[in-house]
């Protein structure tokens, strides 16, 4: 497949593929005073043919709004779009409907974030791609369109494409659906592909495959690429230039190597500093001083844990033969991709779930042998921090009351004492104690996660199980919450089990790490040993797939992956 030849090749080589000048997008309603929310505010950039640009920003920065504006997808939604956008020479915002339709998918094609919902569930994947092809090649026969669709699916690495083209989207895995969406983008041989968070919903190994595919397609076809993402690591190995956005404006723009190695803008520096590095050699941590001698008896000891779920008559094993120990003052990282059973293990450790087989011993006592009543005094010592900052707080109760709840349940303090202690805890996690009477919806995700931590601290726990505590947060907020957890651990001498899918985050906080896959622990050891010299092939693959911030290293790793 090659790009369409321009009628005047000389001009095409020099004229930019994308030219955005003074773009401003305002959404109506829910706005501050004078008519709406300004999502994008005076953004300008250009992209030369065949080049790749990364647009990076945290949530709410307006990056996806820019992507949609390139195809004028805001038309008819009520959003006000100002400035000029030229794609392939067409003035997009002023273009009449038929020309705009030719641009969409023909000249520039979009790859959306969520691969499951972005395809029509009722039609076969191949038919949907063929439909798009026939929109842009009206004289093509159905047969030809189908053949094109199969070829495109084949091109994006779907095995047995002719047969799989007849499958519906829900019969595909997440990675395959994302490939199918890319195939749809490719089928009309566009000059530009706009990918909006194309890998956010995917596991890290699949993410690496998709990014490699985009890279390879770009080299093979000479198409331009605009990659919109929140992840600086995704950008590093995939684009030539990068544009950092914040609150609708560009804060920094330049070649990817320069921006990532020597950022000029303070915000970019902040952002980079907040990204946890999987390759960072850990500075010796104060926690090590607290850590007990290896011969001290473990605080928590799980052996042979198994958990089965019965769904529609079929038994599935979520966890199989998991054994682990946590010593006083130690942090154990539990890392794995989605569906690896790590959350189930976490819930069994604090006895929110009973194991199908195996035991959990806490300070030498078998938790499974204790009844609910006998367990209650120990409950306070085993606490949990949850992943979702929305569902982990009762929306009908003030944050102060949520924190006070365990104190009231313990019944040791009088009412004034409970409130005083809850306020102290709020202050301890960096919240204003005066916010005691406010409700969860008044807070940001990071603040809510702090409330969740305060609540977990209320019964004075000795072990904290943190289940993906930062995965729903932006990278800067994530760094702040991780710092808070580190502080608390040092000050209170807490032991922690830190569950996460993000290898870099786990490395930053853990003393030891256990890698889970399909319900089993495949590798376990001191964190530096596992990350530097992984033994198990799965761990090796996982580490090789983690995006890194240095573009050159990223290129090296891509070559390693493609060789493998």
């Amino acid at each position: 497949m090659t790009t369409e030849l321009d009628a005047t090749p000389g001009r095409a080589a020099t004229a930019p593929l994308v030219e955005v000048d003074g773009l401003a997008v305002t959404f109506p309603g829910a706005g501050s005073g004078d008519g709406g929310v300004r999502a994008v505010d005076g953004l300008s950039f250009t992209l030369a043919p065949g080049r790749a640009l990364g647009i990076v920003g945290e949530s709410g920065s307006g990056k996806s709004t820019v992507a949609a504006a390139l195809l004028d997808l805001h038309r008819g939604t009520g959003a006000r779009v100002a400035g000029t956008v030229r794609v392939g020479g067409l003035d997009v915002l002023a273009a009449p409907e038929p020309q705009l339709r030719r641009l969409r998918g023909g000249t520039a094609a979009m790859v959306f974030q969520d691969p499951l919902s972005s395809l029509d569930p009722y039609y076969a994947v191949g038919d949907q791609i063929a439909e798009v092809y026939r929109v842009h090649r009206p004289d093509a026969s159905r047969r030809e369109a189908r053949a094109r669709a199969v070829a495109a699916l084949d091109r994006v690495g779907i095995a047995d494409a002719a047969r799989r083209a007849r499958s519906r989207p829900h019969e595909f895995s997440g990675g395959m659906r994302q490939r199918a969406l890319i195939a749809m983008a490719l089928v009309c041989e566009p000059r530009l592909v706009i990918a909006d968070e194309p890998t956010t919903a995917l596991d890290v190994t699949v993410q690496a495959q998709i990014l490699d595919l985009l890279h390879e397609l770009r080299e093979g076809t000479g198409m331009g690429l605009i990659l919109v993402t929140h992840d600086l690591g995704v950008v590093a190995g995939s684009v030539d230039e990068v544009l950092v956005m914040r609150a609708g404006r560009a804060v920094e723009q330049g070649p990817v190597g320069e921006v990532l190695s020597a950022p000029a803008a303070g915000y970019t520096q902040q952002l980079l500093a907040a990204v946890p590095r999987v390759d960072a050699v850990r500075e010796p941590r104060p926690a090590a001083a607290v850590r007990a001698a290896p011969d001290e008896p473990p605080l928590l000891e799980a052996s042979g844990l198994r958990r089965e779920f019965v769904r529609r008559g079929a038994r599935t094993r979520a966890v199989e033969d998991v054994s682990l120990t946590v010593r006083p003052g130690e942090t154990l990282g539990l890392v794995g991709e989605s569906g690896s059973g790590k959350t189930t293990v976490g819930r069994m450790l604090v006895r929110l779930l009973g194991p199908t087989a195996g035991t959990v011993r806490y300070r030498g006592r078998d938790l499974g042998a204790l009844g609910e009543r006998a367990l209650r005094p120990l409950r306070g010592e085993l606490q949990m921090v949850f992943q979702d900052p929305v569902s982990s707080l009762n929306p009908r109760r003030s944050i102060g009351e949520s924190v006070a709840d365990p104190l009231r349940a313990a019944g040791e303090l009088d009412d004034a004492g409970v409130v005083r202690r809850a306020k102290e805890l709020l202050e301890r996690v960096g919240l204003d104690p005066a916010w005691y009477h406010r409700y969860p919806h008044e807070f940001s995700g990071g603040q809510r996660q702090r409330v969740g931590i305060a609540r977990a601290l209320a019964p004075s726990p000795r072990l904290l199980v943190c289940d993906e505590p930062v995965s729903a947060l932006d990278v800067t907020t994530q760094a702040q919450v991780l710092d808070l957890l580190g502080e608390l651990r040092r000050e209170l001498g807490l032991s922690m089990i830190f569950i996460a899918h993000d290898l870099a985050v786990v490395r930053a906080v853990s003393d030891r790490v256990a890698v889970m896959r399909a319900g089993r622990i495949v590798e376990e050891g001191p964190v530096d040993t596992v990350y530097e010299r992984p033994e198990h092939p799965y761990t090796k693959g996982l580490l090789a797939a983690v995006p890194v911030l240095d573009p050159r290293v990223a290129g090296d790793m891509r070559r390693v992956r493609s060789a493998a």
Partner: protein, 320 residues
């Protein structure tokens, strides 16, 4: 719940003119029903006395005079065939309608909440049995069973109570299904798990974390049930198996009206208007309660609002 929360609910209710109007209409209706004896006395009439002089026995009993015999003595005319005062009968009919509808709603909500909670909280086995039972109850045509049941009840049984029980016992499936679904999804939420970890015993978790969250959907659903039950009562009375004469009821009046619609149109229009206005006001008010209790929900009366769950949320076959 907090004052702040309640203030928000009141504000959202007041912000909708249709809700205010519906509330006003309902207040008037309630006053009319409660004050029926008083108002009838004011008119100088009662709902049961026959007035043979006011009907034209030569023409089969059509009221004498224009517009169904409206006069200073009989403000809304008289009933064809009997000459009973229409104003008084309509007011006493409101009593029956509202009493039966509210009573049946209470029965439905009580059973629905109990069964739903038991299914949501109970063991897997209890859940499957109760859910299956609920499904069966939901799939049964309520009106058919209500009609059939009245055949085997002794004649002396008080009719309004019978109507309350029949409608209430047959049509609680929706409430139970909603309560069960809510309980199951609430049980999965992390804040419930957190409360357990915080050392709260199960009853405390249920009372503080689950029940407040169940109140809103239950109240909402109850509000939606009332107009449906009004129609159910009217339908049973229309079929001649509601309240026994001489007690007045809108549905029973409409049933008689089927033979009079040519000669005395007003006798059709008056009870029909009362019934319609009541049902519409209750429907609008119910929708307002729903949106006020949950600000994320949008009015479901406005066509084209998204219901979230497809099909399942749509009311089952209406009384035909």
């Amino acid at each position: 719940m907090t004052n702040q929360h309640e203030a928000g609910i009141r504000r959202r209710l007041r912000a909708r003119p249709s809700a205010v109007a519906a509330a006003a209409v309902l207040a008037v209706l309630a006053l009319l029903a409660l004050g029926a004896p008083l108002l009838a006395a004011l008119e100088g009439q009662d709902p049961t006395t026959y007035h043979d002089r006011l009907i034209d026995s030569a023409r089969g009993g059509v009221p004498l005079g224009a517009y169904g015999g409206i006069s200073g003595d009989h403000w809304l005319g008289v009933e064809p065939g009997t000459g009973r005062d229409l104003f008084a009968r309509l007011l006493y009919g409101a009593q029956v309608s509202l009493l039966v509808a509210l009573g049946a709603t209470v029965v439905q909500v009580l059973i629905g909440v109990l069964v739903g909670l038991a299914a949501g909280f109970g063991s897997r086995f209890a859940d499957s049995v109760l859910s299956r039972f609920t499904d069966v109850m939901l799939s049964l045509p309520t009106l058919v069973f209500a009609v059939a049941l009245t055949a085997v009840v002794p004649a002396g049984f008080p009719r309004p109570l019978l109507l309350i029980l029949v409608i209430g016992l047959l049509d609680w499936g929706g409430t139970s299904r909603i309560v069960r679904a809510q309980t199951l999804s609430l049980k999965k939420l992390d804040y419930v798990a957190a409360a357990r970890l915080g050392g709260s015993p199960p009853w405390r978790v249920a009372r503080r974390e689950l029940l407040p969250a169940l109140a809103a959907p239950v109240i909402t659903y109850a509000a939606v049930r009332v107009p449906v039950n009004i129609v159910a009562e009217a339908s049973l009375s229309f079929l001649g198996i509601g309240v026994k004469p001489p007690t007045a009821s809108w549905g029973q009046m409409l049933s008689t009206a089927t033979t009079w619609f040519r000669a005395d149109p007003l006798y059709v229009l008056l009870p029909a208007a009362f019934l319609l206005v009541t049902v519409l006001a209750l429907t609008v008010a119910g929708d307002a309660v729903r949106t006020a209790l949950d600000p994320r929900e949008r009015s479901r009366l406005r066509v084209g609002t998204r219901d979230g769950s497809r099909g399942a949320a749509e009311p089952r076959g209406a009384a035909v």
